[in-house]
Amino acid sequence: MKTESKLEKILESGQLAVTSEAGPPRGAEPEVIRKKGEMLKAYVDCCNVTDNQTAMVRVCSLASCIILKQMGLSPILQMTARDRNRLAIQADILGAYAFGINTMLCLTGDHQSFGDHPTAANVFDLDSIQMIQGVNKIRQEGTFMGGAKMTLAPKMFIGAAANPFADPFELRVMRLAKKIAAGVDFIQTQCIFNMDKFGKWMQMICDEGLDQKVHILAGITPMKGLGMARYMKNKVPGMDVPDEVINRLKGVPKEKQADEGITMAVEQIQQLKEMKGVHGFHIMAIEWEEKVPEIVERAGLLPRPKVD
């Protein structure tokens, strides 16, 4: 094992991992984080905490992760390069590790123009691949990115995102290969709606043998209704929502659409369980965390494995 991460232990044991995510609140309300933690605790192996997602200011990922850790969950610290230079990134990693947080997700980050502070300066000192490289250097060499020796170097289990649906498509596997070369251990994919395209991407990954080098967690997002599906299709960059998803939701009455969305997510998981290279699921129920237990249960992913 490279780290003490619960996620690493589960993935290395060959069992399908289940992660989810908790979006922190837009106010200093620890009880909101605790409530989400309680909801998810028995149903997921690890819980991501987003980092100012869509560039909207929220309780910081690190503080939220500490709250979840103290509740007995295994949090995954999401970290974007948008808001932090390499000094701040490393300081946060040291702080996280001091609280026993040993799993993180390295992200470049959505551009700040999407959020509630579009006039802010961005940082982008590093990109996600360089962040992975840096965190891996800390783990392997015990040194800061700048080269100085660390007294106690955090050994982070390193995750990253991959979007099989962004363009240019032919680059998507090559870019994943770069993340692997940089030292990434696991990948959480963008929300999958286009199963055909995802299948093609996974096939390319397996053809290259990359599935042997990285654990891929398939990103699952249940649709709350037709409105959400249309929004995701038309407004969210890099999202691929095929017409068949829209039409299926359209085909049921409005009050039944949420249930249909959950059923679609469950069916997706069942299909993907059989797909070579898929080592687990990352369930992103956006501001709908209460549905994660139902999805996990109906998809036959319970009970979650116990690891030391």
Partner: protein, 222 residues
């Protein structure tokens, strides 16, 4: 070249209204080429300011002059014989030129008539686009001649991010994805394997992050 555009007239009127005697200076270089601060624009601006002053009942005396280059001490000196007759310089040069006036004539206000936007070039009549971020350590030989720092909204050295869609940047569909452009070039050049190389964290010390920069060429200094 440096690309600039004139500030809104209202803003220029507000910043110049305390002054009764104004020297408006244009520049024959980049800002002439991008139609922001050459002789013609100086003339138009002078007329607009005179009209605004007249409307407000303010006395305003204007002298117009356009220098060969405003980023060169030799040309900035050309206004010395008459600058004392004016309270302020309204510079239609880029911000470099405006600062040359401030440095050279410490008791005169130096006001910017332009917003200095970027280093770039013309795409078509009336359209200019950014091409260089002045990072001080060029990597174009590694990226197919397209700069990821200037042309990727997240200045990613290992792009594209997950927001690249149909060749466009996630920030705005009017912005081409810099990494799509790089990839297209690598394809055209038959150099797609180059993409696999990870570009290491950049040393931003040669960029603005190292503090204001200066180049001294010992072979040229007297």
């Amino acid at each position: 070249m440096i690309v600039a555009e004139q500030k809104p007239l209202k803003e220029i009127i507000a910043m110049t209204s305390p002054f009764k005697k104004l020297l408006i200076v244009g520049c024959n270089e980049c800002v002439t080429v991008c139609h922001a601060g050459g002789r013609k624009e100086v003339e138009q601006l002078a007329a607009a300011l005179a009209m605004a002053a007249q409307k407000d009942g303010r006395p305003l005396e204007i002298k117009e002059v356009t220098l060969e280059r405003c980023c060169d001490p030799e040309y900035i000196e050309q206004v010395r014989p008459f600058i004392d007759q004016y309270e302020a310089v309204l510079s239609c040069a880029c911000s470099v030129g405006t600062q040359y006036f401030a440095d050279t004539y410490p008791t005169k206000w130096a006001l910017p008539a332009l917003n200095t936007s970027f280093m770039g070039g013309s795409l078509a009549q009336g359209i200019w686009a950014e091409r260089c971020a002045g990072c001080g350590n060029c990597i174009l030989h590694e990226t197919g001649g397209i700069c990821p720092i200037a042309r990727c909204s997240k200045r990613m050295l290992n792009g594209p991010c997950g927001g690249s869609t149909g060749g466009h940047c996630e920030v705005n569909p009017d912005i081409p994805c810099g990494w799509q452009l790089i990839w297209d070039r690598l394809v055209a050049l038959g150099r797609t394997p180059d993409y696999a190389k990870i570009m290491a964290a950049k040393d931003w010390n040669t960029s603005r992050d190292g503090g204001p920069r200066k180049i001294v060429r010992e072979d040229l200094t007297i």
